[in-house]
Symmetry: D4
Subunit: 167 residues, 8 copies
């Protein structure tokens, strides 16, 4: 898929270590994406402009990762009817509980789809974006199913090793 | 939309008071849906069967609401490549923190899109399902935009009243 | 003070029960204010416009109260160099911990001054706004000192009653 | 005891570092066991099949360790009337609070016996499995009593050293 | 089953409202039990004596419910090799989080099987006791299976009603 | 004991409902006390003066109860070498977790003895004051022992009733 | 600005590693300040004296950073009508949640403006002090606006790099 | 003071790293003490015997440090009318929140005086023991006052250095 259909936004360049889990997963699933740093607080107009123009640029899902009182996903969601997936990042001393509650506890009217805190959440954000896109693009569903099968098979291999170790 | 494209699943009939927020919102957005009680723990096979057959019945998004250690959304997600939206319900003495963490902290590989705890989260689950569907059905995007405009206008009316009260 | 120098913004009209503690305190301290409902998520442009124009309308401090993943104060702060005071409101099942962390854990660069959760925090927001203004308007400092003296004297009266009860 | 009566299941091979505390303790107590990696989410059918067949394979107790929103123990319990002991593993940034609440807050009807988070919990899971088995196998009760006596004696030795250091 | 094989202990008579869920469930499962109030703190010798003598009186499992810093289950476990199931009770202002952590976070060496906070946990404690006993008494396993089938069937009936309501 | 040896201080007259548990317990134990409202924040000099003069007035232990970010016990402790017992009061939406952490997490150098949140903590504060005083006044130790015996006997009576109910 | 208008107080010299973020930011914004170690508990009179005399020394805003049950900001606020900004420091095993709640949950009457936990909060404290001062000193507002523009431009540069990396 | 009047008990020899803060502080204050490892769970009779005999051995205050679901202080308190000071130790993945709640949330009737989590709490436990003893032994009060003066003077010295650095 050449077309860039997912926007991956992070609140700070220091969030890249977490968000590249999403980027790598999208790449593995062969989904086109664009990447951007935009902060809800340090660059509100940039963020608003990006969010409002996304739909016209062909973006179909947005993934937003941020730490602390992570407003990024909610702010993006307020500017677009596109589905927004939020990744809470554990970059403050509170271990990501702040980012989690800031991301998931959206008041009624404007939803954000929250993932788990940190790298696992970033990876899952890409998978969830794929699940959304798969409703329209059947080939993406095949990628998801293939990925899941691989997961299940890897697990069996790893289990085998451990079973033998203690067999 | 006549077609039933959203599955609304709840872990217990006592969750209906919360989940009808999702049901009412889907109705308002004119999205076809089916409703079911299925428990991850008390009826695991029913839940697995429902999840595995959903895609063939034409379901495109699943909303799952549960309380306590809310495994329902995760268990459904494990059985289907469809996007699953989880609504944590505050039915235990821990005020929904248990259901929230059980829903949102999915390990990497199988995502669930978590909403806020309780009624607001249920309403947002319907809106997020609509956002997913809108990628394929343009008329749903129009409904979302109309709903959002109404929200913004209602807010202005309510603000007017308060502004006058203290003007 | 006739001039409206404080903007009191709330994310929903249902927040008024809490935010009127701020309104009443400002009135008691004879500080001019304006009141508004504006949501970070349901009316982002209204919120941005209000925030960006506040300084030109003569507003010198903004108080923002919101519940759930309370982004309102942070979003306002992103659009104005004015000091923004945030009041976390306990309107979700999580008792305001969500609103507290969303308000106080602002990432470095754009501060929000967080108050306590709920009515006490709303009252303190007005007092803190007064403390800010008092740096420029000496008559407000007198009001604060008078209020504090009254607090201390009321406390002594109430203590007397209890002392006598157990004396 | 040659017979394998305890099933030790972990959600990921990376959980082995924690779960080997259970394995070592079972070995020390001379209780036969089998080890398996099975994920509630990545391999739901494998997990269901394992759980449903356990009783027929002669398994009498299952120990399940998982991190994040740890559904594994609950999912296993939903498929078998055998007692299931859950070990919450601290593998996410939330330090195991997520796994703890996901494991312990089971809704009424299908219990899981939760242990402490991490290695101590894994060790105790083996001891609790032994306590269950001891009801049927008197020799295991003897092992438990011997182990406890050793614990108490070791403690006295360690205390002696410290008492002398500060005596 | 005439024989009293389960000991149900509560830290205070005010815990009965929660613990009768366990009592009723044991009755429904036809398991013989004895009930006692014994506090880890207010009657430590009574608690120790009860725990140490339980095995000789024919008790095979102990269920202990307590609130606040709930030490009861741990203290009982320290005096007996019998399996002890702990029910954290939400009787303090901290909603049972205190009782939960006090019950579940047992240090390595002496396990307690923690259930969920409150009434649901008390009910599950009885079910888990049954699962332990069923390893020795096949008729109890039949009761468990019958109870679970009833749960699953009730759920389907309740689902039917809701399905029809929204059909 | 005629002499007033315990100072019971509360941060607000609204804390009396909780603190009278301490007052009643002191009365029951026949320990002389004085009661006062003094706020760490609203009347800092009154609080400092009270604390610094306590030792000369014959006070031997101070009990301080406060809610929110409960600084009262710590502030009193900073002004006197007398032992200070802190009672966290659940008067904010955060259920007393704020008052608990503010009271108990004193930095090294100036200790406060924290009790449980709310009424139970207030009662225990009186008992702990008695334990401190008993080191000097043997008759108070007798009162404590009598009280504990009564507690244990009441418990047995209450247990009897419940035992008969389910016997 | 030669005049020292901000007081930066920390509860311990070990807090300097965090508080120098505030110091550096004030320097960058060209705001005059004084620095002091004063503990609410270890040096209460020094703290009171500093706070009461601050206004006469020309101080206009006080920033107070402390860890554990951080009473420093509240205690300072109790002694001065100046605005006090609190920085919770994560120096205890509870990761700063204790310092956060002790700082932010001030009871009604005497406000403290709480910032985020740790270094980011210290930096923001300086920025918030600047926002307060800017109401009186227009040149400080220019510094804030310049700083914010720089933030936004840095962000764009960093984004560019990442965009190119994945372009 | 030659006489051993303080008992320092720890639940495990691995707690010594924390508890030696208490030991060192007692030494500095010239208070006689004895040290012991005794576990509420692994050696309940040893713990009970130690607690019951303490008063007759001349012990006047007991300090008890433990981690996880720290029952040690509560269990000791149940066996003696002596004042018991509890030190929660952060030895589990939950950072000591478990030990804190297990120690501080004692139900009404049998108090424990809780200190802060970890080393600072251990040091304060010694200081609080000294405050208790000082009611009977005036020379200990002098030691406390001398220690506090030293604290305050050290603070001024450290402040001076920092003041000069930024003067």
């Amino acid at each position: 898929m050449e077309k860039k259909v997912v926007g991956v936004v992070m609140g700070s360049d220091s969030d890249l270590a977490v968000m590249e889990e999403a980027i790598n997963m999208l790449t593995e699933l062969k989904i086109g994406f664009e990447v951007l740093v935009a902060s809800a607080h340090r660059s509100p107009e940039r963020t608003a402009h990006y969010s409002r123009s996304a739909i016209d640029r062909g973006i179909e899902v947005i993934i937003a990762g941020a730490g602390h009182s992570a407003h990024l996903a909610g702010v993006i969601a307020s500017h677009t009817p596109l589905p927004v997936i939020g990744v809470p990042i554990n970059s403050s001393p509170l271990s990501g509980l702040d980012a989690l509650l800031s991301t998931v506890q959206m008041p009624p009217g404007v939803p954000v789809a929250a993932m788990a805190v940190g790298k696992g959440g970033a990876k899952n954000a890409a998978l969830f974006a794929a699940e959304i896109l798969a409703n329209k693009y059947p080939e993406i569903r095949n990628e998801i199913i293939a990925f899941r099968n691989k997961l299940a098979q890897d697990l069996i291999k790893k289990s085998k090793k451990i079973e033998e170790q203690y067999g």
